[in-house]
């Protein structure tokens, strides 16, 4: 092995005529947290399901922990832990029984099972819930139990499919802490998400995926830097016309129209460009109501590369204020 725990080459997957995964290639290095960031229906779960051997590989090549996903599914299965997108605990069993069952289906010896359960309950702060039925746990605790279960067999790679979807920000940040701790212990983590902050703050590297394709891969800073140092947000009395004017300027790399504002990507120093832009727009008789300069966020990266906002889903983090807050720290 070359230090790559996951290697994927030209992976494709179709449901009937729908190409859900379209010629995807990427690698995940030993010990890193790697994220697939993409909207609903992007193909994230499909990729996870192929890598975890739950779906048959149709086309392309994939290796997990050195084992061929298509030819050696049993070894792949022994190397990985999974936290599914949908909650799947046995609600009629207690916290420790859920873990116990997992250890048993993976043929872990009794003593090892016991030790590992103790360790994991400590790690996920579920010690006091050891004998609680899974159905009596809070949503966040259930997810933590699934996390513990995924780690039961000390997998080389842990797959998490949207591990924090639907949780409030506190619960989500707590989950990130656990994942960082798991990473420190040497486990490679592959996760999918449609939360910008999750990809941004948690991951070592991110692939933005849309319509079954990887649009771009890199670490958070690299991705943001490709957008230049600063972004300009403008609100004007006539966004449409203003956008056209801006596009004709040499110093402007791209303009995207949001619902209320224009997002302007520039190639040069903002201190020179901004006065020029404002003058030009005013000159056409358009009023500028708001000007905002900010560092590119993951959100901006996403819009830049996919040409649309990551709006789908139940994201509560959408209000603009919060977005800016997320980046300012």
């Amino acid at each position: 092995m070359t230090g790559n725990v996951i290697e994927v080459n030209n992976l494709e997957h179709s449901y009937g005529s729908l190409k859900a995964v379209d010629n995807i290639s990427f690698t995940v290095k030993q010990g890193e947290i790697f994220s697939f960031l993409g909207p609903n229906g992007a193909g994230k779960s499909t990729v996870i399901n192929i890598l975890t051997t739950l779906k048959k590989l149709q086309k392309g090549e994939a290796r997990v922990n050195g084992y061929d996903v298509a030819k050696d599914s049993k070894s792949v299965r022994r190397s990985i832990g999974i936290v599914f997108q949908m909650l799947c605990l046995d609600h009629e069993m207690t916290v420790s029984e859920n873990l116990e069952y997992h250890g048993r289906i993976y043929s872990m010896p009794k003593k090892e099972r016991k030790e590992r359960i103790d360790e994991l309950l400590k790690l996920t702060d579920l010690e006091s819930k050891r004998n609680t039925l899974a159905k009596d746990l809070s949503g966040g605790m259930k997810r933590r139990l699934e996390l513990a279960r995924g780690l039961m067999t000390r997998p080389a790679v842990l797959f998490l499919d949207e591990p924090t979807v639907g949780f409030d920000i506190q619960t989500r940040m707590r989950m990130w802490e656990y994942l960082r701790e798991i990473k420190r212990e040497g486990t490679t983590i592959f996760l999918t998400t449609h939360y910008m902050e999750e990809a941004d703050q948690l991951s070592d590297r991110i692939s933005i995926i849309d319509h079954g394709k990887i649009i771009v891969t890199g670490n958070s800073d690299e991705l943001k830097n490709t957008l230049g140092k600063d972004l300009i947000y403008l609100e004007t009395s006539n966004n449409k016309t203003a956008a056209e004017i801006l596009r004709s300027l040499r110093s402007v790399k791209s303009v995207t129209e949001d619902t209320k504002s224009l997002r302007i990507l520039i190639g040069e120093d903002v201190t020179h460009v901004l006065p020029q832009i404002m003058e030009k727009i005013r000159g056409e008789g358009i009023d500028i109501t708001t000007v905002n300069i900010k560092k590119p966020s993951m959100d901006d990266v996403f819009v830049h590369y996919t040409g649309h906002e990551l709006r789908e889903g139940d994201d509560k983090e959408k209000p603009q204020g919060k977005e800016t807050a997320g980046v300012s720290e």
Binding site: N49, T52, T53, L54, K55, K74, R77, R78, I82, F84, M86, C88, L89, D90, E92, M93, E97, Y101, H102, R104, I105, Y106, S107, R149
Partner: protein, 277 residues
């Protein structure tokens, strides 16, 4: 050799003893059958048939004992036929995902569930035999200790094969079907002919030939006959019908049930290998 089926078995049994209501009803159900149906029917049947002359020199068995074998068969039939239902819910609430994503071979999942069903069936069988003896069922009458043990082992073996067959059947349906109502109606539909075209509860000597023929191949008949062979002996008369069980008869019962179970096993394997997540 892998023993992963033990994990599946462990979970099934854990939950069997956890749900007190299910546990209680599955233990009390056979007793109710015997107590209400058995006693009521046997009294009236015995009255009705007391005038029918019995052949000289043939031991007479009362209806309760005849029916006791059938009640074991019936009770085991119903619990195993409906036993797969949990699988449907496991699939519906994606509980199966974890197991299906693990290295456990599908065969082990089926086997684990099957063996847990067999355990439950044994418990019910013992309850019926125990309670039956208490209310005057003539099982193992005049048997030596060794004969009794052999007979019980024989019955257990038959019950096990029978239960596996029906659990595999029910499991295949459960894993294929999406909604509980559909499952319920298919099972009810299945249980009707099984129930009526068999000699579990009454002799079939006076059935029309076609039904008699069908009944011969009904697993329920095979099991009831098998239990009678072990529990009542090879030569007895009940309600004027003279029963003689030969070694060929019991072999036929065994072979028939084994054939049934293997067929259902392959059906279950086929359905399980199709399950997609």
């Amino acid at each position: 050799m892998n023993f992963e089926f033990r994990a599946i078995y462990w979970r099934e049994m854990l939950k069997f003893f956890r749900f007190k209501s299910v546990l209680f009803s599955s233990l009390i159900q056979p007793v109710m059958w015997l107590a209400f149906f058995g006693l009521a029917m046997s009294d009236s049947f015995d009255k009705l048939t007391s005038l029918v002359p019995n052949e000289a020199g043939v031991p007479v068995v009362d209806y309760l004992s005849y029916m006791g074998a059938g009640i074991i068969a019936m009770d085991v039939l119903f619990s195993s036929l409906f036993g797969g239902t949990t699988l449907m819910f496991d699939k519906k609430f994606s509980l199966l995902r974890e197991t299906l994503a693990s290295p456990v071979p599908r065969f082990h999942i089926i086997l684990g569930i099957g063996l847990s069903g067999v355990t439950k069936a044994f418990i019910q069988t013992f309850i019926i035999i125990g309670f039956g003896k208490l209310i005057g069922m003539d099982f193992f009458e005049g048997f030596t200790l060794a004969q009794t043990i052999t007979a019980i082992l024989g019955i257990m073996l038959l019950v096990a094969v029978f239960t596996l067959g029906f659990l595999f059947l029910s499991g295949s349906i459960a894993i294929t079907i999406e909604n509980p109502e559909g499952m319920q109606s298919i099972l009810t539909l299945l249980s009707m002919p099984l129930f009526f075209i068999s000699n579990a509860l009454y002799p079939i000597e006076s059935f029309p030939d076609i039904l008699k023929l069908l009944s011969m191949f009904n697993p329920l008949t095979l099991l009831a006959d098998g239990i009678r062979y072990f529990a009542l002996g090879t030569n007895f008369s009940v309600m004027g019908n003279h029963y003689v069980y030969t070694t060929a008869d019991i072999a036929f019962s065994f072979m028939g049930l084994i054939f049934f179970a293997l067929t259902m096993l392959s059906a279950a394997m086929w359905r399980f290998n199709k399950v997609d997540i």
